[in-house]
C-alpha cells in the first residue's frame, strides 16, 4: 500500500505540491490526471524517494521513504519499478544488457538464469529478436516496451508509470496499455499511472485522481470521474477551453 500524506514541494518560488493526500491500496492501479506542468511527475517521483518533500511523507507498506537512506532505501526501491516518460534505457547497452543489468548487478543471477529471464520477458512484451539491438535502433514504442520489460524482469510489487503512452501512435499506445493490463493480471502489482489519455487508460484503472493546483481535486472510480459535476474535473475530462481551468 502507498500512502501519500500532506505532501508539499516547491522549486524556488514555484509551489508545485501544496498538500497532496492519496492512498493506493495493494493490487490497485490508480490513474493520476491533470494539466501538464502541474506536478504529476513530481508527485510520482516522490514515491520512490527520487525527490524529497519539503513537508509531508510517503509511506510504502508503512515505511516512510523520506526517512530511509543507504541500504534501507535501496532495499525498498528494489521492490519498485518506474517506467520513465522517455523509457530511460541505457543507451550504451543493447536491449538484452539493459534487462540483464539489474539481474546481474542486484540479484546476482548466473548467465543462464539471466538469459532465460531476459528472453522470456522480451517475449512477453513482443520484442523477441530485438535483444541485440541498441535503444537508438528501435522505435519509440519498442523502447517503451523494452523499458517496461526491464522494470518487470525482477517482479516489482509496485509499478509507477510516467506517461507510458505519450508520443506513441494510438495503436502502439493501446498495445502498451493492454500489456500493462495483462501484466497486472499476472503479477498483481500496485500501480500509479500518470497520463493525459483518460478514456483508454481508465479501462485498466481501479481509481482515478485529478491533481490540480498542487492538491488532489477529485478522487473516485474512473466512471465517477467521467461523470463528475465538479467544474474543474468536467472541463478537464471534456477538454473544453472555456471553464475555471486557465491554460494561459
Amino acid at each position: 500500500m502507498i500512502q501519500i500524506e500532506d505532501l508539499h514541494k516547491s522549486f524556488g518560488e514555484n509551489k508545485v505540491l501544496k498538500g497532496v493526500d492519496l492512498t493506493v491500496n495493494r493490487g490497485e492501479i490508480i490513474v493520476l490526471i491533470g494539466m501538464s506542468g502541474y506536478g504529476k511527475s513530481v508527485l510520482l517521483k516522490h514515491v520512490p524517494g527520487l525527490f524529497r518533500p519539503d513537508k509531508g511523507r510517503v509511506l510504502i507498506e508503512g515505511a516512510d521513504i523520506g526517512a530511509l537512506s543507504g541500504k534501507a532505501l535501496a532495499g525498498l526501491r528494489s521492490r519498485l519499478g518506474f517506467l520513465f516518460q522517455g523509457g530511460a534505457l541505457f543507451e550504451s547497452m543493447t536491449i538484452f544488457d539493459n534487462l540483464a543489468f539489474p539481474l546481474r548487478e542486484k540479484l546476482g543471477l548466473n548467465k543462464n538464469e539471466i538469459k532465460e529471464r531476459v528472453l522470456n520477458e522480451l517475449d512477453q512484451v513482443g520484442l523477441s529478436g530485438a535483444e541485440n539491438k541498441y535503444p537508438s535502433q528501435i522505435s519509440g514504442g519498442m523502447q517503451k516496451r523494452a523499458a517496461l520489460a526491464r522494470e518487470l524482469v525482477w517482479r516489482p510489487e509496485i509499478m509507477l508509470f510516467d506517461e507510458p503512452t505519450t508520443g506513441l501512435d494510438p495503436i502502439i499506445g493501446h498495445a502498451i496499455l493492454n500489456l500493462i493490463e495483462d501484466l497486472h493480471e499476472r503479477m498483481k502489482f500496485t500501480g500509479i499511472l500518470v497520463t493525459h489519455e483518460l478514456h483508454r487508460v481508465f479501462k485498466i484503472a481501479h481509481k482515478a485522481a485529478m491533481l490540480h493546483e498542487g492538491v488532489i481535486k477529485a478522487l473516485g472510480t474512473p466512471d465517477e470521474i467521467l461523470a463528475s459535476e465538479d467544474p474543474f474535473v468536467k472541463q478537464f475530462v471534456s477538454g473544453d477551453t472555456e471553464g475555471p481551468i486557465s491554460f494561459k
Binding site: R77, A88, E91, K106
Partner: protein, 263 residues
C-alpha cells in the same frame, strides 16, 4: 534608490550562497568519490573501459602535443641560451621544463578537453534522460558505475600520459636541438642526467596525480548535478563548458600552489 540597494544586496547574498553551497556540494562529491573508490565492489569492466577511453585513446594526442612542445622549447631555448653562451644547458632546460611543469599541465589540459568534456556530456545526458534515476530505482548506487571508474581511471592514466608526454617532448627537443641546430647529442642527453633529480620526476608525478583527481571530480560533478546548470541540450552544453573551464583553471591554480608550497 534604496530598493535598488536592497536588490543588489539580496542578489549578492543569493549569488554568494549559491556559490558557497556549490563548493560544499563539490567537496562532498569529492569525498564520496574518494570513499567509494577505496571500498569494494569495484566495477572492473567499467573501470577498464574508462582506462581505455581516458588513457589509451588520448595517447596519440598527448604524444603529438608533447613532441611539438619539446620542439618549440628547444627552438626558443637554443636562441636564448646561444646569446648567453650556454647552449650546453639546452637538454636540462627542455627536460626540466617538461617534466616539472609542461608535461603534467599540458597533459592535464589535453585530457580535460578530450575526455573530461565527454565525461560531463555523457553523465549529463544520462541525468536528463533519467538513466541515473533508473539506476537508483534498481536499488544500485550510480556513483559506483559512473563516478568511481572515471575517478580511478583518471588518477592512473594521467601520470602515464604525462610520462609519455615527457618522453616524447624530450625527444622532440632532441630532434630540433641536435638534428636541426647542431647541439652535440652527448651534451644534450648527458647534461639532462647531470641536472635531473628524482625530486623533479616526483614533482611531475604528484602534480599529474592531483590533476587526474581534479579532472575526474569536476567533469563527473558537472554532469551528475547537471540540474544546477539548467536542463535539456542547453544545460548539457553549459555543463560541459563549465567543466572544461573549471578543470583547466583549477589545474593552473593548483599547479602554482603545489609548486610554491611543496617544491
Amino acid at each position: 534608490m534604496v530598493h535598488k540597494l536592497f536588490d543588489l544586496t539580496r542578489n549578492l547574498g543569493a549569488w554568494s550562497l549559491r556559490y558557497v553551497s556549490g563548493m560544499g556540494l563539490m567537496a562532498i562529491f569529492f569525498v564520496k568519490a574518494l570513499v567509494y573508490s577505496v571500498t569494494p565492489p569495484l566495477k572492473v569492466i567499467d573501470f577498464i573501459k574508462r582506462i581505455r577511453f581516458i588513457g589509451s585513446q588520448s595517447v596519440f594526442l598527448i604524444a603529438l602535443i608533447g613532441a611539438f612542445s619539446g620542439m618549440v622549447l628547444a627552438l626558443q631555448g637554443y636562441h636564448t641560451l646561444n646569446r648567453l653562451g650556454s647552449v650546453a644547458f639546452l637538454g636540462p632546460m627542455v627536460a626540466l621544463s617538461i617534466i616539472k611543469e609542461l608535461g603534467p599541465v599540458l597533459a592535464g589540459i589535453m585530457v580535460t578537453a578530450r575526455a573530461g568534456s565527454a565525461i560531463t556530456a555523457e553523465i549529463g545526458i544520462m541525468r536528463i534522460s533519467n538513466q541515473i534515476d533508473a539506476i537508483e530505482m534498481m536499488g544500485l548506487n550510480p556513483f559506483r558505475y559512473l563516478v568511481v571508474p572515471n575517478f580511478l581511471a583518471a588518477v592512473i592514466a594521467l601520470p602515464l600520459l604525462t610520462g609519455i608526454f615527457d618522453f616524447v617532448g624530450i625527444f622532440g627537443g632532441y630532434l630540433v636541438g641536435v638534428k636541426m641546430l647542431g647541439v652535440e647529442p652527448g651534451t644534450y642527453l648527458g647534461e639532462i642526467s647531470n641536472y635531473l633529480e628524482m625530486g623533479d620526476i616526483l614533482e611531475g608525478l604528484y602534480k599529474s596525480i592531483s590533476f587526474g583527481l581534479i579532472i575526474s571530480c569536476v567533469s563527473c560533478y558537472k554532469g551528475y548535478y547537471m540540474g544546477t546548470s539548467g536542463y535539456g541540450a542547453e544545460g548539457v552544453s553549459r555543463a560541459t563548458t563549465q567543466s572544461v573551464v573549471l578543470s583547466s583553471a583549477m589545474i593552473l591554480i593548483w599547479d602554482y600552489f603545489m609548486t610554491a608550497l611543496l617544491f
